[in-house]
């Protein structure tokens, strides 16, 4: 084609195509977020956020579901962060390139791409039935921890590996042991990256519904112990929508979820930006 059309014209046409694809992507997001907020914002007020559901969620608020989401996400992050950061430190500071490391990487990759419903099945078979924890905040949170683990691991590993080697060498030269160096130099220096990973893992846990569908139960009350059943926000939205209970409350719930994700995106971007500026400033 370009044999007959001058390259300059082809360039112009292709620029148009590229701009169009970028703008389409932008438009998709604006339409989805705009529409959800447009339908949901009128529903969201303090009464909705802090109220109890009435008539299994047909009306009333979503407070117990917000609390459920916070609880399961907290458990997920509390369990996954030490495992993920520990593994990242080991992979980047201790391990060489051997079969075990390759296996660990493959394991973490597999974990990252296993469908969430499989985590849900596993959570049901292992936490709920085999360990006899039952449908509870704990079972749901632990299942979500498995899903957040690879996100936290890979973000931490990238962050630790990007630290200037001279920092660690300086510390070792002063007579610090390897662990002292990691604890006092490497981890503090890579903290912004690790934090970003933890927040991303949190985002994954907050947004997940399929993995908690058969692990957390579907209670309407605020869970008061780890063993209580609960209903995180995405699950509530799913139940409202598929059982056709209340479209209005479904839009409200969707709005709360979208706002949470927007906050997470803004926070992680600010963190990364500040970190970059700081590193370049040096």
């Amino acid at each position: 084609m370009h044999r007959f059309i001058p390259p300059r014209i082809v360039q112009k046409i292709m620029n148009g195509v590229f701009w169009a694809s970028g703008l389409i992507t932008l438009a998709i997001l604006l339409i989805i977020i705009g529409y959800v907020l447009f339908k949901g914002m009128p529903v969201v007020n303090l009464e909705f956020l802090l109220g109890d559901p009435v008539d299994s969620g047909r009306s009333g608020g979503i407070f117990p579901f917000i609390m459920s989401s916070i609880y399961v996400t907290l458990i997920a992050v509390l369990v996954a962060t030490p495992l993920g950061v520990g593994a990242a430190v080991y992979l980047s500071e201790y391990a060489g390139e051997n079969t075990l490391v390759k296996l660990i990487r493959f394991g973490s990759e597999t974990l990252a791409s296993i469908p969430s419903i499989i985590f849900g099945l596993f959570g049901l078979a292992f936490f709920v039935i085999y360990l006899e924890i039952g449908w509870s905040v704990l079972s749901g949170g632990l299942t979500l921890a498995l899903m957040a683990l690879p996100t936290i691991l890979s973000a931490s590993e990238v962050s630790i590996e990007s630290i200037n080697k001279s920092y660690a060498e300086g510390s070792l030269a002063l007579g610090a042991t390897k662990w002292q160096t990691i604890y006092k130099v490497v981890i503090p220096a890579s903290l912004p990256g690790i934090t970003t990973g933890v927040i991303l893992g949190m985002g994954r846990a907050i947004a997940e519904a399929a993995a908690v569908l058969y692990t957390v139960g579907a209670a309407l009350m605020i869970p008061t112990s780890l063993m209580d059943a609960a209903r995180p926000l995405p699950l509530h939205l799913y139940i409202l929508a598929t059982e056709g209970l209340s479209m209005e409350n479904a839009w409200g719930t969707a709005t709360v979820l979208v706002i949470m994700i927007l906050i997470i995106t803004v926070v992680t971007n600010t963190l990364v930006d500040n970190y970059r500026k700081k590193m370049m400033g040096r």
Binding site: I32, F122, A125, A210, I261
Partner: protein, 291 residues
């Protein structure tokens, strides 16, 4: 305890956290298989995979229509998401001015963070009625599901492809431009071919996400167990089958849903192995030199 003992225990402790992902994967596989194998034994692997009927009340467990459903939805959504995603990635890596990138990158991040149930709900309320008036039928269809999935896998294709395009050494681009090629010719003949392994990886990752998506698909695909005659027919995906029926399944039915899970895990592992293969082939040869 001396300083060196402490170092030793810390290293072993960290090793333990590192192998946790292997242990978790092993546990997942063991438990999914433990619960799923009884169904494969009672139905027979061949009948389970290629059986046309799924009727748990009659003891018929054939998941072939759902395999077709999953693959069909995935293929359709890739057909839409790959061109748009790759073009968008090239736009971000090569064309877009800095301020446009500053808007688009968070946009893509946000798209990837939005919960899948929100997409599903959006599809259920807006897309399904739209499809019903445009194409007839109920509006719940393979096509509707793949439109929603397109939006969901777009971010992963864009971001991984963009990384691949950015990792091409600047010298290659400069050499091409210095030879008098236009920017488009450079993209088409130098940058894009060099980034192909990374772009394929992005497509495979998108495929993995599409095959694994559950609740969003349940909300818009119609969930009828059948081999579709057209893309506007309702279908049921493998993932949906598990999520819909697990609530009330008992006995062999319960096992059969785990067996459906085994097939899913198997599909994902095959995809991962292919992705890794392309990852190792990342060093492509162009004109006798390595990139």
């Amino acid at each position: 305890m001396s300083k060196w003992d402490e170092e030793y225990f810390i290293e072993k402790g960290l090793l333990l956290t590192a192998i946790s992902s292997i242990i978790i994967i092993a546990l997942i596989i063991i438990f999914i298989f433990r619960e799923g194998i009884p169904a494969l034994q009672s139905a027979g692997v061949f009948n389970f995979l290629f059986g046309m009927d799924w009727a748990p009340t009659d003891g018929k467990y054939g998941i072939f229509p759902m395999i077709i459903g999953s693959l069909g939805i995935t293929a359709l959504s890739l057909l839409m998401a790959v061109p748009l995603g790759v073009l968008c990635a090239i736009f971000l890596a090569e064309i877009a001015p800095a301020n446009m990138r500053k808007i688009l990158n968070p946009t893509i991040q946000t798209l990837s963070g939005i919960p899948s149930v929100v997409y599903g709900f959006f599809g259920l309320v807006l897309l399904v009625p739209f499809m019903r008036t445009q194409f007839g039928g109920t509006g719940f269809s393979m096509f509707t599901a793949s439109v929603i999935l397109t939006v969901m896998i777009l971010p992963i294709i864009v971001s991984v492809s963009e990384d691949a395009l950015r990792s091409i050494p600047q010298e290659y681009k400069e050499a091409s431009l210095a030879l008098g090629a236009t920017h488009w010719q450079t993209i088409k003949n130098v940058i894009f071919p060099a980034a192909i392994p990374g772009i394929i990886t992005s497509i495979i990752l998108g495929m993995g996400r599409a095959i694994g998506e559950t609740l969003a698909i349940i909300m818009v695909a119609g969930n009828v167990v059948q081999i579709p005659n057209s893309i506007f027919d309702p279908v049921r995906a493998l993932t949906s089958n598990i999520a819909i029926e697990m609530g009330y399944a008992t006995g062999v039915h319960y096992n059969a849903l785990f067996a459906t899970g085994i097939i899913l895990v198997f599909m994902i592992i095959v995809l991962l192995v292919i992705a890794n293969y392309f990852h190792y082939k990342k060093k492509v040869t162009i004109g006798g030199g390595y990139l």
